[in-house]
């Protein structure tokens, strides 16, 4: 069984390795979130917003030309059609309702590419809550349009100037600011990372993805279970959502796609399961890229959303016990796969998502296999990167 235990562990990974100053916040969340999420009123509000604001259920689309090309039945779960352009908003809707029920007045969040920042700024505008987003100073330069989207939505964007000035440093900064503002502030983490109960909580909010896949496949194929589910993994929230209801269905293969950057052994990579070892990052024990001395290594990926030196503890566990198949896709192959999907199906994917598309070339399957690829986001935010790359 893949399940989080009482102490917040998935097998060897997880837990809550946090400074004592955050203990009351984490305890408050841990003690309350399951009850709050279980009450019908919460569920009603969550489901209504997912339907009317986010636009769920998102379609499960049979990609005929892609299917023909690869020789399998390939469905795309269209998270790219969510409001704000990616799956990230499923989680921010859940957490903002929770924050309100906990009586919080302010929201803070980290962001890398800006997708989670935009999704957070959006729900804060929706609920009239004050919003501060921490973003690496380097990412602020690289992702200007998303920075301005957040500002238009009324959020304050604060540069994280420490360390490498990217996602991991933005996460550090958000945690520090939570220590500084423990009482009235809720921290909306953007992936299945961080101290327990965040990884499980975020996965549950994202699990709507596989819940819908099951119902939609049943209707289209007469079975709830595909043969293979493929998703990209940065921290792992879209993958956790797409895998969630299949964790304990062993005949469904779960393929997690990491970013190899310039190549696994190039020194410029974000392929955590290939390069990482067990350690502690952002409050949980997981696999992370680090030096022998336990200093966290800067990752590299062309997609800012996969540019993270760790993965969520549930994925470290899936890897550890062999329940997940992990592959790593290089920058160049991902970019080409993005163009391939654009031209075979008329969908320009986010570059994160393009990694998952390329994985079709890396795994084995049979002609009658049903494959679901989680199309985590659309490519609008990445136009600059596509243009700079230029290979189309």
């Amino acid at each position: 069984m893949i399940r989080v235990d009482e102490k917040g562990f998935y097998g060897k990974f997880g837990g809550a390795y946090i400074p004592e100053m955050l203990h009351p916040n984490i305890e408050e969340l841990r003690d309350n979130y399951e009850q709050i999420v279980a009450i019908p009123e919460f569920q009603e509000e969550f489901n209504a917003l997912l339907q009317d604001f986010v636009g769920r259920p998102t379609p499960l689309y049979l990609a005929s030309r892609l299917s023909e090309k690869y020789g399998a039945k390939i469905y795309l779960k269209r998270e790219d059609l969510c409001h704000t352009g990616a799956h990230k908003v499923n989680n921010t809707i859940g957490q903002i309702i929770l924050a309100k029920k906990l009586g919080k007045k302010r929201i803070i969040a980290e962001t890398g590419a800006g997708q989670h920042g935009v999704a957070t700024a959006t729900v804060c505008a929706l609920m009239g809550m004050e919003c501060t987003i921490y973003m690496g100073a380097l990412d602020i330069q690289r992702q200007r349009p998303n920075v301005e989207r957040m500002r238009i939505l009324g959020a304050k964007v604060v540069p994280a100037t420490s360390g490498s000035q990217t996602l991991k440093d933005a996460t550090n900064e958000a945690m520090r600011q939570w220590i500084n503002n423990p009482v009235d502030t809720h921290y909306i983490i953007g992936s299945v990372v961080g101290p327990h109960p965040y990884p499980e909580m975020v996965a549950r909010f994202q699990s709507v993805i596989s819940k819908e896949i099951k119902a939609q496949l049943l209707e289209k194929e007469g079975t709830e279970n595909p043969d293979i589910v493929i998703a990209c993994v940065g921290g792992g929230s879209n993958a956790a959502g797409a895998f969630y209801h299949y964790y304990n269905v062993p005949q469904v293969r779960l393929v997690a796609v990491e970013a190899a950057g310039l190549g696994i052994s190039s020194g410029k990579s974000a392929a955590t399961t290939a390069l990482g070892t067990p350690g502690i990052l952002h409050g949980s024990k997981t696999l992370l890229m680090q030096t022998e001395d336990g200093q966290v290594v800067e990752p590299h990926s062309i997609s800012a959303g996969l540019d993270y030196p760790g993965i969520g503890p549930v994925h470290a566990h899936l890897f550890d016990i062999g329940r997940g198949e992990f592959v790593a896709v290089e920058d160049e192959d991902a970019m080409k796969a993005g163009v391939e999907l654009s031209r075979t199906e008329g969908i320009i994917p986010a570059i994160e998502t393009a990694h998952a598309i390329h994985a079709l070339n890396m795994i084995e399957f049979r002609p009658d296999d049903i494959i679901v690829i989680n199309l985590s986001g659309r490519g609008d935010k990445d136009l600059d990167t596509y243009i700079k790359w230029g290979g189309y």
Binding site: K7, Y17, M21, Q290, D293
Partner: protein
């Protein structure tokens, strides 16, 4: 019984503990800074083991961590530098740092090495009490290391009692809702929290840290505790110093005399 216990037996008031980052400002400065601290009159030395992602630290200590790492500091080097420290240092020495580098060194090897060179205690901010009890307590105790927990104004009375029960050495009272960083004032609200904890009559000594920077804040904090810890303000002294031993002496004297 280690040096920390002996210190608190002899001295219950205005205990001054100084934090600095190993290998800062220069790689070779670790031991000279310690020697200067002891001769200037500090009571406890807290050596920070630098880490790439110090989530409980403000900009000053973040920077000193980065500089130390760039200087080439790591756990092995630190232990080499400290190998002979007990020839010149007699006051208690505590290592402070984040859990990941300790785990990568190997927790038992780490504890063993600490005992061998004469380290008295550890402060690991991201090692929570439950994990400590489940996995680390036995080891720390086997190697004679005191473990210090942090508490903050948010920590409940029950939890403070629990922490007191499992501490042996001192309790680190974080002075406000805050990451590390020097401040020049202590507020009424902070004093109310100091008094509240003082009235609990804990069995361990209490040192107040985070935001203590000068004689005034040191004395105020010490009024309601057994003493205080200075970190960021001292790092700033080191950073600007042209003559470490002289400047350390002047700074420590400005606080305790």
């Amino acid at each position: 019984m280690n040096r920390l216990h002996r210190l608190f037996e002899q001295k219950q008031e205005r205990v001054l503990s100084i934090y600095f980052t190993a290998g800062f400002p220069q790689l070779v400065d670790t031991l000279p800074v310690m020697q200067a601290l002891e001769s200037a009159g500090a009571d406890i030395i807290e050596i920070g083991m630098p880490y790439s992602d110090p989530i409980a630290d403000g900009p000053t200590i973040q920077d000193s961590n980065m500089v130390a790492l760039d200087n080439g500091m790591n756990m092995k080097k630190l232990f080499e530098q400290l190998q002979e420290m007990r020839q010149s240092i007699s006051i208690p020495v505590v290592l402070m740092g984040y859990l990941n580098p300790i785990i990568q060194y190997g927790i038992e090897a780490f504890c063993k090495k600490c005992q061998e060179i004469g380290v008295d205690g550890l402060i690991v901010p991201d090692l929570p009490m439950q994990q400590y009890l489940d996995e680390y307590k036995g080891l720390f105790e086997n190697y004679g290391l005191s473990n210090t927990f942090l508490i903050s104004p948010q920590t409940s009375e029950n939890r403070i009692r629990e922490i007191d029960e499992h501490s042996n050495g001192f309790i680190y009272m974080v002075s406000s809702h805050s990451i590390t960083g020097a401040k020049s004032e202590i507020s009424e609200e902070q004093i109310a929290y100091f008094k509240r904890v003082e009235a609990m009559n804990l069995r361990n000594a209490r040192l107040i840290g985070f935001g203590i920077s000068d004689k005034k804040t040191f004395i105020t904090a010490s009024t309601y505790s057994n003493g205080a810890i200075i970190g960021s303000a001292f790092i700033k002294v080191l950073k600007d110093s042209k003559d470490l031993s002289k400047d350390i002496h002047t700074y420590i004297q400005s606080i305790i005399s």
